[in-house]
């Protein structure tokens, strides 16, 4: 976990926001809401638009391009938004604002709502792995052992009897795949997953993940709810409505 100094609290207007470029090309948005400071990705998850140019009223952040909105306390999508904002943990020390870059799991939509403790336990299960472009993550018929989260890069899915027809959907950073690892009676993969670029993935063993979730049913319930929405979306996408 790295700690990066961003700015002085005095630079952020009350119930206002400002963005900063930090090392490594990352743009970070700092927003004030009453006594609290929040830090988010500075660029809209929709298109390359700076969120600091949008509207913010101390509670809701709106991107001025197409009016996607987020709750400033959580980064959750509101209204028209199709994706949440990546949130960074903030520390304020002696009037200085620092941002802690924490686990990539935090960015995974599937785990967005789990409690801090559970996230930490899941984090310790996660293996961060780099794959070269062209590598196969799993094949049709392979055991459904792990669940994957895309951190960077691109992954393609091939379906059909011989695994050559593209399933035709695109994953975003933070999205989960291989979720059959969390399901019963789904012992074998029904698609082939390959990397189209050099990619970084987080892998969690399905059974271990379920154990962690069983020990925190409140978090587990929220994960399962997200998962069922995810599955429905895929069922809905097989053919025309």
């Amino acid at each position: 976990m790295s700690k990066i100094r961003i700015c002085n609290t005095a630079e952020i207007p009350s119930n206002g926001m400002k963005d900063y470029d930090v090392e490594g090309g990352l743009k970070v948005l700092i927003a004030n809401a009453g006594d609290c400071y929040y830090a988010y990705q500075g660029v809209c998850p929709h298109q390359e638009v700076c969120l600091a140019e949008g509207y913010y009223d101390g509670a809701v952040l709106t991107c001025h391009q197409h009016l996607w909105q987020w709750d400033i306390t959580t980064g959750k999508a509101l209204g028209l938004a199709e994706a949440p904002l990546e949130k960074y943990e903030v520390k304020v020390e002696d009037g200085e604002i620092f941002v802690l870059q924490s686990s990539a799991l935090k960015a995974a939509q599937l785990f967005m709502d789990v409690s801090g403790d559970t996230l930490q336990r899941l984090d310790s299960l996660a293996r961060r792995e780099k794959y070269e472009s062209g590598s196969t993550l799993y094949n049709i018929g392979d055991p459904t052992d792990d669940l994957y989260i895309l951190d960077s890069g691109r992954v393609e899915f091939l379906i059909g009897r011989d695994g050559t027809s593209p399933a035709g959907f695109v994953l975003h950073k933070g999205e989960v795949f291989g979720w059959a690892a969390l399901l019963e009676n789904q012992a074998r993969r029904i698609a082939k997953a390959t990397c189209l670029e050099d990619s970084v993935l987080l892998r969690l063993n399905g059974e271990e993940t379920l154990k962690v979730l069983e020990s925190d049913p409140a978090s587990g319930y929220l994960v399962m709810r997200k998962l069922s929405t995810l599955i429905t979306r895929h069922l809905g996408s097989q053919g025309e409505k």
Binding site: H46, Q47, Y55, D57, G79, G168, F169, V170, H172, K241
Partner: protein, 345 residues
């Protein structure tokens, strides 16, 4: 050419003919590809090429500044040379039954009249009728000027046989110079549409608020015609704010007076003048209309205070005006799904 587009939720397939822009080809195949301006400036239609060969008809398009990798391109400017697979990052749905699927049509300019020194009223007669929703626009290409331009329809009819537009002169602009300096009646043009999401239909059952700067009033007139045809303002309020610099730049005031007389006092039309106080003659010539001084978003903000109950807002005009208006509406706590616009860039 067969095109596969992989979207966030699923894959779609459509055909593109020789020279047809990929965006237009997809949309006419009822694939709801993302777009906004249709003319290379906004970057909304960006996609990534996975396989196949494409050609960029406008490599200098300003919208290319939103592209990251070499394999990214604007669908509204590129045509396919071979079968191709492309990828867009957003959700893409098949257009629902009932929406007007856009198509490429031919037409000719049947009349062109000056409304003010820099605004023209243009009519295009179509070779076949077009069904569109009030508030929509079409892309038009004229011979000798590169690229399509988006113009909002002013009229509203089912199965319209001609489309009417209000076009403001942009000094030095390609189409502007052509329209204002040549004999354009009779000229054959290409039309693609209808496009645009800021539409009105009477089933909406909300008070409507229209805020427009300059030629942005075009789409509002279409919306008002549709509403008036349905007696909409017997039940719902309509507040229209039309911003221009001086009274000399205003047009359609007779039409607004007529609409107001027809629809009754639930319809209010205010002309906002940004560069002068309303002359006394305006008030006596147009007793049905209101006049005020200031930028149209400020005027609308003042008049609407406390009146946002059950309101759907339609905005149109230059991007800075739309941005300023959105800010005022958000401050008034209007929900984003009730703020509708297609920016003019």
């Amino acid at each position: 050419m067969k095109i596969q587009v992989n979207a966030r939720n699923r894959a779609h397939h459509f055909n593109a003919t020789e020279g047809e822009k990929l965006l237009y080809a997809g949309l006419s195949g009822a694939v709801g590809l993302p777009y906004e301006c249709g003319s290379g400036t906004c970057g909304t239609c960006k996609a990534r090429l996975i396989s196949g060969e494409i050609v960029d008809a406008w490599p200098d398009a300003p919208g290319r500044k939103y592209l990251k990798g070499d394999d990214e391109f604007l669908m509204c400017q590129c045509v396919a040379k071979t079968d191709a697979s492309i990828e867009v990052a957003s959700f893409v749905q098949t257009m629902e039954a009932g929406v007007c699927v856009p198509a490429a049509l031919k037409g000719h300019i049947s009349s062109a009249k000056l409304l003010t020194s820099d605004v023209i009223h243009l009519q295009i007669k179509l070779s076949q009728p077009m069904e569109f929703d009030a508030g929509q626009f079409v892309m038009v290409q004229v011979p000798g000027v590169a690229g399509f331009r988006g113009w909002s329809m002013v009229n509203y009819q089912r199965e319209a046989e001609s489309l009417e537009f209000i076009i403001k002169k942009k000094p030095g602009g390609g189409i502007s110079e052509w329209l204002f300096n040549s004999q354009c009646t009779g000229v054959e043009v290409e039309v693609f549409g209808p496009l645009g999401h800021a539409t009105f239909y009477p089933g909406l059952s909300k008070n409507i608020l229209c805020i427009a700067g300059g030629s942005g009033i075009a789409g509002m007139v279409s919306i008002l015609s549709r509403a008036a045809q349905d007696d909409y303002f017997r039940q719902y309020r309509g507040d229209v704010f039309f911003g221009v610099q001086t009274l000399k730049d205003a047009f359609f005031l007779d039409e607004f007076s007529r609409l107001r007389a027809q629809c009754g006092d639930k319809l209010n039309v205010t002309i906002a003048l940004s560069k002068e106080d309303p002359p006394a003659s305006a008030l006596s010539d147009y007793p049905h209309l209101k006049f005020d001084t200031g930028y149209v978003h400020d005027v609308a903000g003042r008049h609407m205070q406390g009146n946002y109950e059950n309101v759907r807002a339609y905005l149109a005009g230059p991007p800075p005006m739309v941005d300023a208006t959105v800010r005022i509406l958000l401050q008034a706590r209007l929900a984003t799904d009730n703020i509708c616009y297609d920016k003019f860039s």
